[in-house]
Symmetry: C2
Amino acid sequence: MAKDKSTFNLKTPKGTKDWSGSDALLRDRIFTTIADVFKRHGGTALDTPVFELREILAGKYGEDSKLIYDLQDQGGEICSLRYDLTVPFARWLAMNPDVRSMKRYHIAKVYRRDQPAVSKGRMREFYQCDFDVAGTFDPMVPDAEVLKIVTEVFEELGWKGRYSIKINHRKILDGVFEVCGVPTDKIRPISSAVDKLDKMPWADVRKEMVEEKGLDGAVADKIESYVVKKGGRELLDTLLKDESLLANASAKAGLENMGLLMDYLEAFGVLDRISFDMSLARGLDYYTGVIYEVVTEGSAPAIQSTDPEAQKVQKSGKKGKSKGGNLEDDDRSNDPTLGVGSVAAGGRYDNLVGMFLPKAQIPCVGVSFGVDRIFSITKARIEREKSAESLRSSEVDAFVMAFGGKGFTGMLKERMNVCQTLWNAGVKAEFSYKLKPKLPQQFKAAEQGGIPFAVILGEDELAKGEVRIKEMGLEEGHPEKEGVLVKLADLADEVKSRVARKREQSTVTQKLEDLTVDAAKTA
Amino acid sequence: MAKDKSTFNLKTPKGTKDWSGSDALLRDRIFTTIADVFKRHGGTALDTPVFELREILAGKYGEDSKLIYDLQDQGGEICSLRYDLTVPFARWLAMNPDVRSMKRYHIAKVYRRDQPAVSKGRMREFYQCDFDVAGTFDPMVPDAEVLKIVTEVFEELGWKGRYSIKINHRKILDGVFEVCGVPTDKIRPISSAVDKLDKMPWADVRKEMVEEKGLDGAVADKIESYVVKKGGRELLDTLLKDESLLANASAKAGLENMGLLMDYLEAFGVLDRISFDMSLARGLDYYTGVIYEVVTEGSAPAIQSTDPEAQKVQKSGKKGKSKGGNLEDDDRSNDPTLGVGSVAAGGRYDNLVGMFLPKAQIPCVGVSFGVDRIFSITKARIEREKSAESLRSSEVDAFVMAFGGKGFTGMLKERMNVCQTLWNAGVKAEFSYKLKPKLPQQFKAAEQGGIPFAVILGEDELAKGEVRIKEMGLEEGHPEKEGVLVKLADLADEVKSRVARKREQSTVTQKLEDLTVDAAKTA
């Protein structure tokens, strides 16, 4: 080993960071919440290598391919770090042709040599959480389940009433463009322009269509009459009376799909979480059916007002910058599967697997959750709502401590033995590694860790087979301020029931927030 | 996007593999089991980037440095994929000098450009599960807790009675070598030779010492009298009567440490799981105190007999091959932190952090679990013990299905609605994506998924607010063979209590095995 190499550059590589303490714990809880929902719907895990043969990734990401990390050629195969989880999934499906249908989830890091903006959460190494259903099924059934999954994830994260799912359908959009008279070769560029309606007013989008993309002004105006529409089933009913739309095969198929989807979302009890938003177009080319994006009050920009006047005021100064612009300053996500300001997004893509195996097309529909953004919003909310408190870094429930008078031995083995009892019963517990710790030191350690219960050993009490359980942070005058004596044999059960009781007092929306600890105590 | 590129090489890079289905689920359960134990002991998660600045890794792995994966220089920093989790942890401790103590765990992939031997589980991308305690504490207290953690992990994996923890102490070993008369510059090479006693007989080890390493034969014979000793506290007591050992400062300190450790392991109730094995030396140079290695009946080579004669017979044909040998054929782990045949290993390393920050030495003790080997052994055991069965790939508890006579609509929305009720109550449930699935198709899907309960909707019963719960796979004549009718309002609770009851029937050692499903049904 090298000795005394004193000039280490002690940092992580650009655009990467270490996750530790309360941040790591909070992120881990978000992962667990999301994975539990995925599993509840029969999702099976797929884990692919962090690098792929370079040719597998080639030709999948358009001009973003320049952002792919390559491994050095050290002899042997030429590899690159994965850029997303979707292409590896498609590669896996193509490699396993006996699998004709699958609900797969994958929570893992992806890599992009983008200009990082750490403060905005745009990193070169970041997590994606994907759920996808592959297979040929009756129309819109898996699509509806994916949207049900989206609602469950955000509601288990405590976001009920604070998020909205915008949905649209590529076939409706393409039909609208055809009906309005957009030339076929302009449909994708015009669709991209429409997609910017969440961050710029119609006037600017129209300008882009007419001046940059050469669309006839009258066609643009016709488009406006459709894409400003937002609503629920009543909007669908209105469109289903539009003779010119119904005469277009694409629009008609899309509208029928949308009707089915709404029926199914109603059966799943989540139709009210959905907003049919005709301006939603989504950036990626590969979507072929329903598309969706989740926005929340905490994501930037804020959810747009449906009032066109208010829309013009909101964010009118913010224009989406192209990749060639000042990347440090723009507010786009580093994840092209997510729109600006969205926390999850997805849709149906029926033709991607065929890129690897043209004869074995497998239709897919899926969603990707932007965990970094969900983390930032959740953390900010916890900090806002509990401003005097900081987050815990471990989940320990009990700190086992001892005290004594003159000649106090420290009772190390007794503390160890009591810890053993707790651990063996599944209780998360710690004790001081000191031989003779002072009682205030032990309380301080418990407070700093945000540990809710102290288990206190005294020589006389222990001789009688008893220990004291004391809930931390009780107010003066509380009947149990000094703790309660319990039989050693009952200790584990007593701690467990107290921990469970304390946890029950947390509401569902506080589930993630019970990680908090009074910062005043840890200062 | 590229179109119709028809010559993809559809594979994962050499030495890597996809994890899917029941393998992914079983591995995930092993991770959860291990992480739960880590958290129970106050472990906090640390997640570091998958690549580090190359200079951070340089000079840490000796000649194994040639196995490090480098990223291509695409402009900017020069990086490499991490080789283990210990060096990133030491780098993190050096970067965060305000953290003077920490219990950290890290479960993540590491990368080694070694010659892969996939059938033996030696991969280029594989997982490590590490728990380490950093900080200055009273002697042997955290060391004892790390060993307690090892016992909890293997017992929660259902290995009680099937594993053994060999422990030794570098200071005892070094003292023995000094007392026997090994020259100082030969202590590490002689220690490496001793470490091979788990895979070759003493005669071969002696030969290596004398012929290859130039040790005096009489010195080697003295060493033998010590390193063949194995036992428990009685062995320690014997050594504590050895005047020549007690006269050696290193041996004396090591023996005192070992006495303390045994006291603490007794307080933790796990002293009987430990075997004090004076032949255990561990390969890595950086250990400074207690060292340990876990072996199990399923790991190769088998646990050595303590009978010296039997030892000579066992594995006498197997010699540890050097890195330059035929790598495809040797049986070493690809993880140098693990010995041959061990499933977990570790020890105290007090000087590693100082390599990054010489002025801020932080003593550490830790353990690394070899998940790939634990996975292989667990899977083989499940397959052996349930030979007619295969493993499940999802954890779904209920399959919601419907049937009806002539004019049957398929009851899709009704099935969706019942699924919603189950999901909202936290029950893992699936349904067929077909509009009008046939009943046998639905039963087949439930059987193939190893789903334990069917929830069956019939039009007449549903009209009365009732559905049928049927446990899958009951024998003919079982009173509930045809299922039981329950009120729709009670369905979720009924399913939950039945799932819980079924799970309780599994013993602790079957915890990982309740993933099984009758293969005869899925064929």
